[in-house]
Amino acid sequence: MYPDDYLYSKDHEWISVQDNVGTIGITDYAQHELGDVVYVDLPEVGDSVEANEPFGSVESVKAVSEIFAPVSGEIIEVNSKLQDSPELINESPHEKAWMVKIQISNPEEVRGLLSAEEYDEYIQEQSG
């Protein structure tokens, strides 16, 4: 379920890091909790984001959820498909529905994130 080569935040974002560029999305657990996603608000290329600060939001019919940056950096690419097809977040949260790519400014921050196994344990606890 949760790709081994991704890292995860306790706010339910995933990040895949390659050459100091992080691709970020929300996890399958998060999309399931939200329900049908009908709206996405994402930042623009060039915006800078701070670790653990909200950089966008995802809305289902019933709920609004902020998306938090797992690490700090600058937005270098935004998945523009999500604006017209927010349902991709439900259908393919870990792949097609990547949200932004960021140039990571402080690689140290990655260390605080959870592995797939740790995240899986974390959500088991969450769902009680």
Binding site: G35, D36, V38, Y39, D41, S57, E59, S60, V61, K62, V64, Q83
Partner: protein, 368 residues
Amino acid sequence: MADPPLKKTALNQVHRQMGARMTDFAGWDMPVQYAGTLKEHMAVRKRCGIFDISHMGELEIRGAHAQETLQKVTCNDIHRLSVSQCQYSALTTPEGTFIDDLVIYRMAADRFLLCVNASNQEKDFEWIRQNALPNTEVIFRSNDFSQLAVQGPQSIEILQPLTEIPLSDMKYYWFATGKVCGSESIVSRTGYTGEDGFEVYCSPKETEMIWGRIMDSGKSRGMEPIGLAARNTLRLEAGLLLYGNDMDETTTVLEANLGWICKLKKEYFIGRDALARQKESGPQRLLVGFEMVERGIARDKHPIEMDGKPLGAVTSGSYAPFLKKNIGLVYLPTKCSSLETEFSVVIRKKSVKAKVVSTPFYRRASKV
């Protein structure tokens, strides 16, 4: 003090077994969604959906002066209501504001059943009792009924095989009593979705059996069980108001744009004078429908602004799954409530443009 335990409908276990997500609604443990709100919403618009609405309250008013008691406490004209007919109405305060909105069923010349909002049932009961004329009995019947709603264009095909009541002969906002799955029930051609459909008042003991039989009957037609989230988006698209959101004890019947249930020609009802005065001077504000012009979903309680000035807040706002638009309801000063008027909804500190549109947002193609 700890909250009292949530009340459960006769179907609580059934919902849980079906994997419904549950929520606290007006003190009831109710299903908020089953398969997903979008899928449920579309099933009702295109095929059919079944709802457990057993949290709704029921009051019975009977006796020689039952009719005149209702004529006094509600703003619609009970004299126009025939036996076997339903009427949408409101219990009004002396100020002409809403104690509750309700549907009145005339069971007999001197006997009525009132379907009221779950959160208001005790308040309504007390209010009617205090204002009842002599020779009128006011009876709390909420524990005697479960309620199921079957809504959507295929409702008749799904429900008819299970009841002796001839459903296609029943007109919109009429009802009949008879057996549903062998159990004595009341079936009305009413609903809260903007679709054709029925509401079934049945015995709590038989509810699980009846739910199961309707589910079986609807399976081949793509019927879905519907949670409260889709119930809300369906009623909002249909421009139907929700007590507590769109009206309450601070808003009058005329401000809520429900002049059609406000029969000022009646000699007397509680709130009549206030409403007659307001009608003459014209209400200062009106509940109107709007849709978002710019990207963004308006939600309940989001503030609104016009020319940078705060003007109040969204009373109901949501994504509309059938229309694929972002819509809502809001009270605007009457002078700036005309169609196409633009204003802003403040969504997480950002002003997003919206405009006044006519309601209902959605109207089904053919009437019953």
